[in-house]
Homo-oligomer: 363 residues x 2
C-alpha cells in the first residue's frame, strides 16, 4: 500500500438532483445520507485509512476551491488540482496520474468519485487493498458492484476467469454500456456481470501508457499540463491546453481499450454502494426499504398525513404534506421542486428547460 495514492475527481453537477445540486454547489458538497457530513467528506474519510490523509488528491472545478478546502481541512495545497472548466473524467484522472507520476514514478493511483455512497468502509478497504495488490502486477483494476436489480442506469462489467493467486479478483472480458431492460435482466440472471461503479486502481504509468495510444492528443496536452502544474508556466499552459481538451469518459479512453488488451481486472465488491443519481435513489436510501415512510433531510418542521417519499429542506420552513404518494419535495431558498419518484429522472430535462428559458440564475 506504500505506492498507493487516492484521487478524488470531484466534478459533475448532478442535474437530476436540482435544485439541491447546483453548478455552484454540486452533489458532492451535500449531505445526502443524513450522516452529518457531505459526500466528499464521506469519501475522504473512507480513503484516509487506506492511503493516509497526506496522500489524497482532489481534482475539482476552480469554482469549488473554497468549498473543498473548507470541507477537507487536511487537504494538502499540493494535492488540489483546479480545473478551469469541466472536461469529463479522462482529463481529470489523467492529469492527476501525470502530476503524481512526476512525484513518484511507480505510484499506484485509485480514483473514486466524490459523490457515491458506500455503506461498509471496512469491506471497501479490503477491496481496495486487493485491487492495489493486483494493480501492482501491471493491471488496471476496477471494483465491480454485485447488481441488486437489472438497472439500466449503469454500465456492466463482464467477468472472465479468476486471477491466479488473487483472493477474489477476476479478469475482465469487457465493459458494456448502459443496457436496455431486457439485456440488463440477462446480465443480472447470468451471474457473470457486475455494475461498473467507475472506480479504477492502476499504476499511473500504465494508465497513461494506454491513454497515449488511444487518445494521443489528449495524452500530450495532459502531460504538458502536468509538467507546468505548480510552476511559473502553469497559467500560460493551462490557458493554451485546457480549452481544447477532448471530453471523454475514462471508461472509453482507457478502461475498454485496456480490457480488449487483457489488461483489466475486477475485484467484486462486498459492500453496499449507491450512486444516488436522483431523488428516487436518495429516497430509497433514506427509507431503508420501509414502505409508507417519509424521509426528511434537513431541518424542516414537517407535518405529514398519508404521505410518503422524501422531503429535502434547506429553508427550515414548515412543510405540510397531505395525501401524497412517493412524493419528492426539495425546498431551497430560491427554488422549489415537487415531483414523484416515478418522474425523478425527468429532473434532468427540467434543468435543460431552465437553461433554455433563461433561468440560469437558479442552476
Amino acid at each position: 500500500m506504500a505506492r498507493f495514492y487516492s484521487v478524488i475527481p470531484a466534478g459533475g453537477i448532478g442535474s437530476r438532483l436540482w435544485p439541491l445540486s447546483r453548478a455552484s454547489a454540486p452533489k458532492f458538497l451535500h449531505d445526502l445520507t443524513g450522516s452529518g457530513q457531505t459526500l466528499l467528506q464521506d469519501t475522504w474519510d473512507r480513503l484516509a485509512p487506506l492511503s493516509g490523509k497526506e496522500r489524497i488528491l482532489v481534482v475539482t472545478g476552480v469554482a469549488h476551491r473554497n468549498a473543498v478546502t473548507e470541507q477537507c481541512t487536511e487537504l494538502d495545497r499540493l494535492n488540489l488540482i483546479l480545473e478551469p472548466s469541466p472536461k469529463d473524467s479522462t482529463a481529470a484522472i489523467a492529469l492527476a496520474a501525470a502530476v503524481l507520476m512526476k512525484r513518484e514514478p511507480d505510484v499506484i493511483i485509485g480514483s473514486f468519485a466524490a459523490d457515491h455512497v458506500i455503506t461498509d468502509n471496512e469491506e471497501f478497504g479490503k477491496c481496495v487493498r486487493e485491487a492495489v495488490q493486483v494493480a501492482a502486477t501491471g493491471k488496471i483494476v476496477t471494483i465491480g458492484i454485485q447488481p441488486t436489480e437489472p438497472s439500466v442506469g449503469f454500465g456492466y462489467i463482464k467477468l472472465a476467469s479468476k486471477i491466479v493467486g488473487a483472493e477474489t479478483a477476476r479478469e475482465v472480458e469487457h465493459f458494456v454500456e448502459k443496457p436496455n431492460i431486457e439485456r440488463a435482466r440477462e446480465y443480472v440472471s447470468s451471474g457473470r456481470y457486475l455494475w461498473n461503479a467507475g472506480m479504477f486502481i492502476a499504476p499511473a504509468s500504465l494508465l497513461l501508457e494506454v491513454l497515449a495510444k488511444t487518445e494521443p492528443d489528449l495524452y500530450k496536452k495532459v502531460m504538458e499540463l502536468a509538467d507546468s502544474w505548480n510552476t511559473e508556466a502553469e497559467a500560460k499552459v493551462f490557458e493554451e491546453n485546457w480549452p481544447g481538451l477532448k471530453k471523454v469518459a475514462i471508461d472509453y479512453s482507457v478502461a475498454e481499450p485496456a480490457a480488449a488488451d487483457g489488461l483489466v481486472a475486477v475485484v467484486p465488491a462486498n459492500f453496499g454502494w449507491h450512486d444516488v443519481g436522483d431523488f428516487a435513489a436518495i429516497s430509497e436510501l433514506q427509507s431503508g426499504g420501509k414502505r409508507n415512510h417519509l424521509a426528511v433531510l434537513g431541518e424542516a418542521k414537517v407535518l405529514s398525513e398519508k404521505s410518503n417519499g422524501i422531503l429535502i429542506s434547506e429553508t427550515g420552513r414548515l412543510v405540510a404534506l397531505i395525501g401524497l404518494e412517493d412524493v419528492i419535495v426539495v425546498d431551497t431558498p430560491d427554488a422549489l421542486l415537487i415531483t414523484t419518484k416515478e418522474h425523478a429522472q425527468r429532473v434532468k430535462n427540467l434543468v435543460d428547460s431552465l437553461k433554455n428559458t433563461g433561468h440560469s440564475d437558479v442552476l
Copy 2:
C-alpha cells in the same frame, strides 16, 4: 333603496385555506380570484353601487383594523365595528343592525360575507334590489343560489309559493343544514331547493325583534353594546358584555325561527357564486373547467411538466412541478403546503394539528 345599508361581516379565518389564510391575514384579505384585488375589495365594489360607499359598514376583528382600512380607503370611521374576539355571525350582524337602527330606525340592512366570489355584479344588484323591496314588506329575505351540483358543503333553502307582486321572490318553507350526499341529490333533482349562501336582507328592526325572542340574553347584550358604541362608555361595556356573547350562527338564531313563522323570503340568484371554501374550489374557479390546467395565483416563476391543479405563491420563488395530478401547492414565506384536490378538505384538520403541536406561530 334609500333605506338600504350594506353590512360586511369580515370574519372567519378560513382554516381550509391555510397557509394562505391565517389568523393574521384571513381569507377576505387575499386575492383568490386573480382579479388584482382582495375578496373584501371585490365585495365593497359590488355593494357600493347599491347602497352608496358611505352606506357600507364593516364588522371585523380588531386585529384586522389596519388591513381593512388600507383596503377600503373610503370606509367611514363610523362604519367600522371592531370585534374584540370572534363571536360568530349573530353577534356581528345583530350589532351592526343595532348600531344602524339607532341612526335610522327604518334601515334595511343587507349582510354579505366578505369572502365569497360573485361573478356577475349586475345580476347580483338586481337580486339585492328585489330583496330590498320584499324586505320592505316586513320580511327577512335571503338570496338563494341555484345548485350546480349536490354539494354537501352548504345548507339548503326549501322553496314555497311565489310571493304575489314580487318579480322572482318566493316564500321559504324552511332551511336545512348541510345534508349527506343522498339527501343532497334528492334536493337538487327536486328543483325545490337552493343553496343558502348566508346573504340576508331585512329591516334591522325585524331582525332584532326575532333575535329578542330566540336569544334574549344575546339580544340584550348586543343592544347595550350598540348603545355604548362610539361613546365614552364603549370600552367598559365591551369589556363587560363581549366575552359572554353566545357564539351562534345567524341561520340558527334568526333565519330558521323566522322561517318557521313565515317571515322569510328568498330571491333566487341568477349569478355565479362561490364560497371558495378550500383550495380545490379556488382551483376549479381558476381553471374555469379546463382539464389539465395548472392555475397560478401570485408572482411565481413556474416550470410545469405533466402537472395540473393550482399553485399559489407568495414568495416569488421558482417552482418546478413534474408529473403531479390535481396538485395543490401553497408557497408562503414560512410555510409550504402540498396536497391534492381530493384532500383539500383535510387542510382544516392539519390546522387543528398545528394548534395541538405548538405551531401556532404559523397559524
